[in-house]
Amino acid sequence: MSPLRLALRVLRVDRRTRTSTILTAVGVAVATGLVLLLISLPYATQSRAERTSWQLPDVAHDGAALLFAHSEDFIEGTTIRRIDVASTVDTATITLPAGVPRFPAPGEVIVSPALFERMHELPATQLADRFPARVAGTLTDDALAYPGQLVALVGHTPNTMPDSVTSTAGFRSAGDAAPDSMLQLLAGVGVVVLLVPSLVLVASSSRLTAARRERRLAALRLAGATPGQVTAMVAAETGIAAVVGALLGLALSPALRGLATFVPWGGGTWLATDFHLPPGVTIFLVLAIPALVLIAAVVGLRRVVSNPIGAASAHPPKPLRAWRLLALPVTGALFFLAVTSDNPSLETVLLGLLLVVGSAIVVGPWVTYAVGRIFVRFWRRPSGLLAGRRLLDDPRGAYRASAGVVLAVFVGSMALTVMPSLEGMSGHDGTDRDGVLSVSTTAAKAGPVAAQANARLAAAGQQARATIVGGAPADVRVVAPTAGSDVETVRTALAVSGEPVFSPDVYLAGQQSELDDIRRVTVIGLVAAAVLAGCSAAISTAGSVLDRRRTFGALMAGGTPVRVLSRALRAEAGLPALAATVGAGAVGVAVGLGLFMLVQDAHEDAAAVLTPWLLAPVVLGLGVAVLAASVCTPALNRVRAEPLTDQ
């Protein structure tokens, strides 16, 4: 019988193998879908950067054909990207960016559809008056970062251009675009944070039948099957789940990308076409993920292949050595060396971070083993005894069950250390007062700017008036107070100069928007990681009950109530999770403080802010672990229905 036919036969007759295969396929599908999404993030940011490349000056190419100025304006807390241009040559010779219908003539403005809508919704004195009266067209999505972006392309003569002008050969081309480095960094972290629980989910699912499969394969080896035949059988069994899962993940991918387009970043959502992957990358990933699962399954077989009798019989566990504990201080020291070096590079810091995360694979099982020893020594209740012995017996397997939770808690603690500290730094250290808008200009222009602004304010019926402040000829400012409700009218009046209108609140709004972006993506990533980790922990718990179903069946037959066993098993899963999550939380805070030191280098007065919220990932992680452990009750009820049968 061929390995594939044997695998299909086992699937047909064995309900538990079927369940395990389905769960493995689901795990592989989730992993594939997430990896395809996360790997597409750099491509998405690249697409966005390419579309908006023209909104920045082309400083790489010398020339004088195009005079270019760009600034940020605000309307009701939303950023307007304003681009002022003037041509010194025939405009027909200037290559227009995609999505820009024509070069605006002096006195014309081309706006994005969202800005056009706002200009018609609000009184002209609050927005439209900031731009020339003639709207010569609208930009299409090809010229915008996201569909709702507010952009104005204002045409000038060379003489009416704002002061901050750059002479260039033309618009910046899409090829010069650079993707968002922060989102790339988060995508990289996301791949690790979400891929690990996904793979743990796959491993937990396949462990559901591991003991049973080991016995079956050992029997086949004892009956004369060669190692190659046994390996082929496992490859066929796992391959069915892995290939089906990868294809499911591929099918799931558009839906995940569709959801991702709704997540705002950098001020707006995404175009559906942003999240694309080159076909070669897609094919590589869809082949690589099941291949990795297959390799893991075959490597896990080495005990059966090398010694079938050993696999079929019990074997005392080997104690883990304490040297494993050194991995954390060693990698921690390397990480802190990386962040405290004179010129820390992103690559070095990321490598250090990766090493700290990787050290968990070495340290985690030893900590699990040590916790097991403590339980075995000091247990007072059967749950402590069962937990301790199980941890001592298979510390790697026990740690694997909580690895996803550990990673989620680590990253959550790290994020909650860094983010409040960054928020503590946010603010404005200039001399501007709240409620005052200002425009920087030259001494020569200040008078006309103030006069024009006041004329507009008067026409709009405003009490506020613009005044000139400052001494040096090149550093003169026209300022106007606002009373809150008139802020957009005052801003529009000052915008007459074409220079950016500054106020502390919009500066803070920009900072807040960036922090909101990071917080939103972090929360989404952590929730997804927690759900995946919870699922894998639940499957591990169910697997541990089913592995011992005959024993538990015997205990129930002997009169032990399900609730007593259930309580013991919940504690068995929860107690090690408590130790693991507390440890992961502490390391996460330490690494978060290390990352914050990078920021402190640039802002010496910045201080880390540690809030009680740091306990949240630990509590959440523990909650997920305890919730996942509660599946032992239905699993035990299932065993109770057939207490003394193997299946």
């Binding site: 019990a314 069962l386 012995r389 017996d393 024993t551 037959a557 009169g559 032990t560």
Partner: protein, 221 residues
């Protein structure tokens, strides 16, 4: 001590028990023999309260127990009955001593008391030196004696043994059976043993033959 009257147990359309009457006296040792599928294990499980009979009555020391709720039947199994199964069904990660102590611990006994009782019973069954060994480190006979110790710690009124020597060779099986009978006598327990081994059955004071779900023969030695 334990009596079954008109016991019926069906699985779908199949009658595992088709009206069985049986009496077990205090301290009595009874073998139940019969071909595969004759209803031996079903009878053991019904009398032991693991399965509920579809018809019939069960009495323990004069009290009707077949109508007890699952909760009360569990309590009965925990306090009045002891069970020994073919494979021992020990927790692989626990030592012999911990395996024996586990039911007492789950019932709320303190660690010190449970482990002391476990050590005592392991000593009586000749396993004093293997208290710290795990099931995988014990021979089949030793593991089965650990299971016997686990079944006897609370001095049950009746011990139900389902093929207790089925996985052992003849000599080890006999040694294990001797250990069970001595320990049961020490605890004052009745013993009901399901076995395929006719020689073993013949060596016991009383044998009940069951065929097609009915008592076919009663042999008193």
């Amino acid at each position: 001590m334990l009596a079954g009257r008109g016991l019926v147990k069906r699985y779908g359309t199949q009658h595992a028990l088709a009206g069985v009457d049986i009496d077990i006296q205090p301290g009595e040792v009874v073998a139940i023999v019969g071909p595969s599928g004759s209803g031996k294990t079903s009878l053991l499980h019904v009398l032991g309260g693991i399965l509920r009979a579809d018809a019939g009555e069960i009495f323990l020391a004069g009290t009707r127990i077949d109508q007890f709720s699952e909760k009360r039947r569990s309590e009965l199994r925990r306090t009045e009955f002891g069970f020994v199964f073919q494979q021992g069904m020990l927790v692989a990660e626990l030592t012999a001593e911990e395996n024996v102590a586990l039911p007492m611990l789950l019932a709320g006994a303190p660690r010190k008391q449970a482990t002391a009782t476990a050590r005592d019973w392991l000593g009586r069954l000749g396993l004093g030196g293997r208290a710290g060994s795990r099931p995988g480190e014990l021979s089949g006979g030793q593991a089965q004696r650990v299971a016997i110790a686990r079944a006897l710690t609370h001095r049950p009124k009746v011990i139900f043994a389902d093929e207790p020597t089925g996985a052992l060779d003849t000599r080890t099986g006999k040694e294990t059976m001797d250990a069970l009978l001595v320990a049961a006598a020490d605890a004052g327990s009745s013993v009901l043993i399901v076995t395929h081994d006719r020689e073993l059955a013949d060596s016991l004071p009383r044998t009940v033959v069951i065929r097609d779900g009915r008592i076919a023969d009663r042999v008193a030695v």
